[in-house]
Symmetry: C3
Subunit: 270 residues, 3 copies
């Protein structure tokens, strides 16, 4: 299910090298750039309000990540997002740490009000806050693991915003309000490396740059990240840890083949 | 000496996963986040004045690192530091490059005047400048290696500020004004990787999030970093260099066991 | 040709450890710091207008990289650049993504008008835009591969600005308006890792900190980066990708010997 679609998108990424404009946090920005390059896209980071509209207008997709917000980047995100909307360029939102502070909650809500979003990716806590539901957030890591509820929450928010919502966790849930996909790839060690969430969002950004269907772009991004995570873990010896694991994530996104997807993607849906 | 305390703190870190709020520089911020995760803590970076107080209030500890100061982050550091003080959350200060410019010297002094600090970690040059002593500073790397003087300097500053002072170098010196500890772990190759000082400070931040005694948190942080450094060096083959060494630092912080501390910590004190 | 000069500069770097002040982008700043350390220099990053002049004045060289411009860093670049000029400290410019937005083009032109530059390094698209020639730019990666034209373009800009111009690509071209050098080291996989261009500029910054001839500093920097790239590629097994490749870049800059240069540098010129 969807495997042929993902393989098709992967081939298009390799052929077209979509330009992914990021307005993102300074913690994981280097990882996001490298994961985009690993898959075959071309990353560009620009967040000054005097250039974001021009940059967004020539990009294949725009990723907005609120990991380290400042007053300046909030303004730039809105400007770039509107410009992308005008130019029919898909916008992907990562509401990092929403719920942890009022600034993040307010900003993420402002973005979804002012900008038409194509795909939102977050952990369950983040998507719940964005949906206006009660949850527990502490810092930027999810402490909410109600996987059963994920499907309904993703579907409801997707219908409300007319977009695709992707909730990542032990089992990923992706919904566009009609279809739903579940992915069981990945490995828990991914939670021990900073930026695996941000990188998943950037991969969705790359696929969004070539996909006509945002739901498939989200599925493709999360399958790619999940497969890389489990293959990276498989490579580890007894004396390896998170440093080696992190390096192998980039290797396996780079090495990803159609065959890996056919044989490895643990994907189902309705 | 202190080995049992470190082992106890390590177990608590693994169990509690303390949230460490950083206001830090954009050069080594990714390394700081990853080293916190490697040890078992949970990092969060936030530096906008509109959210730092909320973030600090829910954190287990707060790390202030002046590696790339701006007017905005200075204000955020003071706000977050005061909030942490109100909430009895330990504040760890890394006065990176103090002495190199008047802005850094002025800012570090302002922070210690406005915020009650739990642990200060720096190289000898940095701690001397903070103590008001003459030294030589060039950039952010220490050029002062008067190890004999370190003990007195750390003790004096610790008594003056009623905090723990940790001076890192070939031999680390940690003092809270009464006790003093010396650590001879580590390897000189650590000076050839950016951020090993910042990472040591972040590790102290993690341990501070579970420790009732800041002195022990500082000792635990520097033993952890030192052991990782010497084990990383031991892993290198003739054709490996700083890239491989840096990766292995993260692996060995992740892999650290009670037994490593018992057998490997080169620790003594009074 | 020039090999003895490069070997001489490498020895001086190891001996003197030049301090390289960077005002650079937050995407690749950690890589720039680590590559400077790998070669034997000492990096310092500072971009607040209240400290850049002091920092530049004590540095051995100053690198200005416009990868993620903001209004604040533009001002800091001009201040630091002028101070470096006053103090006879070489200034190296990397006009990242010039042409992609008007802000970048305007800023790079302002810098070359206000600051005397020692070496400019960019890809062919970037150098063409800086020269006022028509080209195609999309994001920060070059899409212009007219290698034959590179020589004339580099020479003309070098003469106009009385500096050294280095164009990197499959074949690097370096000219100071009189001499020209071509380097055919490197590997195309370098384009799949973010920051290899920025790192090459930083390496030129390190050599510039010890060289009296900026042209030789540029040649040395690009030979170093090119050799590291091809040796990193040679290390890869079938199951390695860009993660491993990137790590090995740092290893091979660290491991570089006089013998590597004698046997490996594919260098010619006039």
């Amino acid at each position: 299910m969807y495997k042929k679609d993902i393989i098709g998108l992967l081939a298009q990424v390799k052929q077209k090298g979509p330009l992914v404009h990021h307005i993102t946090n300074y913690v994981t920005v280097n990882d996001c750039a490298n994961i985009v390059l690993a898959l075959g896209g071309s990353p560009v980071m620009a967040d000054d309000k005097n250039e974001v509209e021009e940059m967004a207008a020539v990009a294949s997709s725009l990723v907005l990540n609120i990991g380290t917000l400042t007053t300046k980047t909030i303004e730039a995100m809105i400007l770039a997002g509107r410009k992308a909307n005008e130019s029919d360029i898909p916008v992907i939102l990562d509401p990092v740490g929403i719920g942890a502070t009022r600034l993040r909650t307010k900003t993420a809500r402002e973005i979804i009000r002012e900008v038409k979003i194509s795909v939102i990716r977050g952990n369950l806590s983040e998507i719940k806050v964005l949906s206006g539901l009660a949850t527990t957030t502490k810092g930027v890591d999810s402490v909410d693991h109600d996987l059963q509820g994920g499907r309904e929450i993703a579907g409801n928010l997707a219908r409300k915003l007319n977009c695709t919502v992707a909730i990542t966790g032990a089992r990923d849930v992706i919904s566009d309000g009609k279809r739903v996909a579940f992915i069981e790839n990945g490995h828990q060690m991914m939670a021990r490396v900073t930026g695996t969430g941000c990188m998943a969002t950037s991969l969705i950004g790359v696929y969004s740059g070539v996909a006509s269907d945002p739901f498939l772009a989200a599925v493709a991004g999360l399958v790619t990240m999940g497969l890389a995570g489990e293959k990276a873990y498989r490579d580890l010896g007894a004396q390896d840890g998170v440093g080696t694991f992190r390096l192998r994530l980039f290797d396996h996104v780079y090495l990803l083949t159609a065959n890996d997807i056919i044989e490895g993607a643990k994907l189902n849906g309705e």
